[in-house]
Amino acid sequence: MEISVTMNGTARTADVEPRMLLAHVIREEFGLTGTHVGCDTTSCGACTVLLDGSPVKSCTMFGVQADGHEVTTVEGLAGADGLHPVQVAFQEEHGLQCGYCTPGMMLVGAALLERNPDPTDDDIRWAISGNICRCTGYMNIVKAIQTAAKAKAAAPAAATA
């Protein structure tokens, strides 16, 4: 089946089997390997991407369901003017170790800040509760998203995803 997707702002098409998972379409057909797979049961969030701006687990959608939609992956987070504040903050606050959960975490964080520019600790923890991190204990992930919120507030024009 032929699908058309706006991948990170660029119109792309692919000919995919109807059963092919969106995560695999992104990785294999579009060659964007920043989207990871960590489980078989929609439990870990490593595969999180934004579909029309909202986080979805791309291992639990078929590629064909993304037909006609906008998909943002970690590779699309940075803008023309550089890294997204969430990316900067993850490095700054040591919000990642092995890096496997990081793309999903950053995308959820970026989407959260679009809805809620000034989230509390609890807001952030609930927002990332579908994303498992085995390395960091979440402390610095929460801190990174808070730092990104502050950075966005300080420079709102430069910080839209």
């Binding site: 993850f90 040591h94 990642l96 170790q97 092995c98 890096g99 950053m106």
Partner: protein
């Protein structure tokens, strides 16, 4: 002598600086290079058929339907592997393990056959079409069942194996321990089961085997924490010449011990690539990871602590039953059958201890790995810290006071334990005092009294662990005969930048940053100017890899020592440039100057340039060295963790209200990274205490084969951590560091459990085995309520 501009005055960001991680640049952009991201031309995909039975005779395999699927290239069975003498492989513990089954299956999830196809979906489709004829056999799912005289013999293929017993192992002095117990006023005992858990790194295991039929070169990309050891094992298993094997361990999405062993999938993929002449990729799915690869713990423990009425500890006795699964595949030093469990006397000064352990085969997955732990130190620490806490209540003492009374004092180091460890350094009272102060222990105990009066269940738990990490000295520590020593190579380029090649393999610990900081500390070149290479056996020195908190104690030491070797040569070049005798050259990084004439000076960068452009006659050009480090001793990190919990009497739900962790890992290379390691360990420790468990039903079905049954902590329930530190350097480590990656997983489970038991002790609850699910806590409360 113009090299390039460098800021002589800039502070060198060596040890003690929270340098931002170099590896993050690629990870935050989605540009990591994990195993599944690697794509080779002409690559095939492998999927594995696994046994639905835990114990069953294999009568035959009919792969014709699978073979007929378009896109299937080959089906590999045990019979085919046997033709190449590859149906069995050695394990890290000197046992054998089936690669693909030929006679009978011995655990659910065991590898039965593999399909190689042009497409990963097709490979999975075809696996479903392989017909296997099994006869189910009786199943053994615990060591207690395994030791019964009428138990089915699981390893009946082994010559001379007539039962399920694997090893009997003892440590310490039985007679001295008996005497200590004879002197005791009181003996406190505890039976507890440390359940089977799984490291479950977020990335599963996998490989791409690429064997070139023309040259015999085998390049194997593999999720490996120990690529060099794996290369040697592959040479031995497959009979391939070692110089033709190259193991490349790419970015790893976590390891925690899970990525130490050799798994059958790696061997089958390599054999398939050899036979087919094309690269073969195998990536586990999550269920395969949880049901077949290295589990941890599964340890039944009995402990007895002998005490005087005043709380003085006299001795410790433990007896242990280890459930090893169907093949004895623990990855641990060969001399020690239950790893370093004999560190079980922990932080306490006592005169005698005796450890007895027996290991058994069961119909469960093999591969006892140390899940974020130095070879069963976790189990040991849990047992002693639970015993001490219960002993305090039985003696009517505060658990903090009982610990302090028996801690090895600062002036007793180096301290030899009754089982033969020589602890390098410690200040256990200092760490405990800081933890108590940070959590406000005295006030919390008062608050607890008030809450108890209101009928609330409040608890405070402590754990004061001592770990044994950094294996190790060559005379005691080897795996399959390979001494546990590690190497580092440092080469400084003409422009004053360099490359450090190390035998360890980062899985998120930040080696690319911290090891560059060690070089910076020693030679004065900034960490961003030192590239750190690891994971590729063709391009790094030999060593046994990263697990058991050994990278800093071994490779960190090798890095400091190789840097000092480079400085030795650099000093000679500096003397030549400064036109003075070598003895007259002083080095204060990054500058070499003339003793007594500090204005006459050159920098390390000047010297590097000269090493290729203007070196003295008779000297080899270049500025590089190699060093293989043989640690004189292990290192012994320690700390005290303090946890406050609130337990809901009606539901058994418990919540951590405070968690204070004071760690002493000696000198901290990068404090930011150290704290990150502790956060992660405290979370995995919480997972083990609260939810992580793999169980089996009576027929050997694995319960816990996905993240819906095998629960991992999310951000919501994970406690908020408050950290503290004391610094007691290791006296024998070149930079005084000890290793920290696992302290928190080792120390924290007992602290969480002790807090819950502290809350429930007045009800009469004495123990709950982990994980402390709310259902188990509720049952314990209900059972305590029932009239005895």
């Amino acid at each position: 002598m113009a090299t390039e501009a460098h800021e002589d005055q800039a502070e060198i960001r060596g040890i003690g600086h929270s340098v931002k991680r170099k590896e993050d640049a690629r990870f935050i952009r989605g540009k990591g290079n994990y195993i599944d991201d690697i794509h080779l031309p002409g690559m095939l995909y492998m999927a594995i058929l696994r046994s639905p039975f835990a114990h069953a005779k294999l009568n035959g395999i009919d792969a014709s339907r699978a073979q007929a699927v378009p896109g299937v290239v080959a089906v590999v069975t045990g019979e085919l592997m046997a033709q190449h003498n590859l149906a069995w492989m050695p394990t890290m513990s000197g046992d054998t393990q089936a690669v693909l089954v030929t006679d009978k299956v011995r655990f659910q999830g065991q590898e039965v056959a593999a399909v190689i196809a042009e497409d990963p979906y097709v490979a999975k489709d075809a696996v479903e079409l392989i017909d296997v004829d099994y006869d189910a056999l009786d199943v053994v799912v615990s060591p207690q069942q395994a030791l019964a005289s009428d138990a089915p013999v699981i390893r009946d293929e082994k010559d001379g194996q007539t039962d399920n017993h694997i090893y009997h192992w003892e440590s310490g002095d039985a007679d001295a321990t008996d005497r200590a117990f004879a002197d005791a006023d009181r003996v406190v005992s505890l039976d507890t089961f440390y359940p089977r858990s799984h490291p479950a790194p977020l990335e599963t295991c996998g490989c791409i085997a690429d064997v070139d039929g023309a040259t015999g070169q085998a390049t194997i990309y593999m999720t490996s924490q120990a690529p060099h050891a794996i290369r040697t094992v592959f040479a031995l298993v497959a009979g391939l010449p070692e110089e033709n094997i190259r193991i490349v361990s790419p970015d790893l999405g976590g390891g925690f011990g899970n990525k130490v062993p050799v798994y059958p999938g790696y061997v089958v993929a390599t054999a398939a690539s050899l036979l087919l002449g094309r690269p073969v990729k195998w990536i586990e799915d999550r269920s395969e990871n949880l049901i077949s690869t290295g589990f941890a713990r599964d340890f039944h423990m009995h402990g007895e602590l002998a005490l005087k009425n005043d709380g003085t500890m006299l001795g410790l006795r433990t007896s242990l039953l280890a459930d090893e699964g169907a093949f004895h595949a623990d990855a641990q030093p060969s001399k020690f059958k239950v790893g370093l469990f004999h560190v079980v006397t922990g932080s306490y000064d006592m005169s005698a201890a005796h450890v007895v352990a027996d290991g058994y085969y069961t119909n469960k997955a093999p591969g006892g790995v140390a899940y974020r732990c130095s070879f069963r130190v976790t189990e040991a620490s849990y047992l002693i810290e639970r015993l001490v806490q219960n002993a305090a209540y039985e003696l009517g003492m505060d658990p903090a006071d009982l610990r302090k009374k028996n801690f090895i004092r600062k002036d007793q180091f180096p301290y030899e334990t009754p089982t033969g460890f020589v602890y390098d350094s410690g200040d256990y009272h200092g760490a405990m005092d800081l933890a108590l102060e940070k959590i406000g222990y005295a006030e919390l105990r008062e608050e607890q009294e008030r809450k108890r009066a209101e009928g609330k269940l409040w608890g405070i738990g402590l754990a004061s662990f001592t770990e044994a990490v950094g294996a190790g000295p060559h005379k005691d520590y080897d795996i399959l005969g390979l001494k546990m020593n590690d190497g580092a190579e440092l080469r400084i380029h003409p422009t004053g930048k360099g490359i450090l090649k190390i035998s360890s393999k980062t899985q998120g610990q930040g080696h690319e940053t911290t090891f560059a900081q060690i070089v910076a500390e020693e030679i004065g070149i900034q960490p961003e100017d030192i590239k750190v290479q690891h994971g590729d056996t063709d391009n790094t020195p030999y060593g046994l890899g990263t697990y058991a908190s050994r990278s800093t104690p071994t490779v960190g030491a090798a890095t400091a020592m190789v840097s000092r070797r480079v400085i030795e040569k650099a000093r000679k070049i500096a003397a030549h440039l400064l036109e003075v005798a070598e003895e007259d050259v002083e080095f204060t990084r990054p500058t070499f100057s003339v003793r007594g004439a500090p204005d006459k000076a050159v920098t390390i960068q000047d010297v590097a340039f000269a090493a290729y452009t203007n070196f003295p006659d008779g000297m080899e050009s270049g500025l590089e060295a190699a060093y293989y480090y043989d640690p004189p001793n292990l290192t012994f990190p320690f700390g005290t963790y303090a946890v406050a919990v609130e337990v809901d009497r009606e539901t058994g739900v418990w919540q951590v209200t405070r968690m204070v962790a004071v760690d002493d890992c000696g000198v901290r290379i990068n404090p930011m990274i150290v704290e990150g390691q502790i956060h992660g360990g405290l979370t995995e420790g919480y997972g083990i205490a609260a939810m992580e468990q793999i169980t089996f039903d009576e027929t050997g079905n694995c319960i816990g084969s996905n993240f819906i049954d095998y629960l991992l902590p999310t951000a919501v329930e994970t406690p908020r951590f408050e950290l503290g530190e004391t610094v007691t350097p290791s006296p024998h480590h070149p930079i005084g560091a000890k290793g920290v990656g696992e302290s928190a997983t080792v120390g924290s489970p007992a602290a969480y459990v002790n807090a819950v038991i502290d809350a429930l002790w007045p009800l009469g609850v004495r123990n709950i085995d982990m994980p402390l699910t709310s259902a188990k806590v509720w049952e314990a409360i209900e059972a305590a309520k029932a009239p005895a």
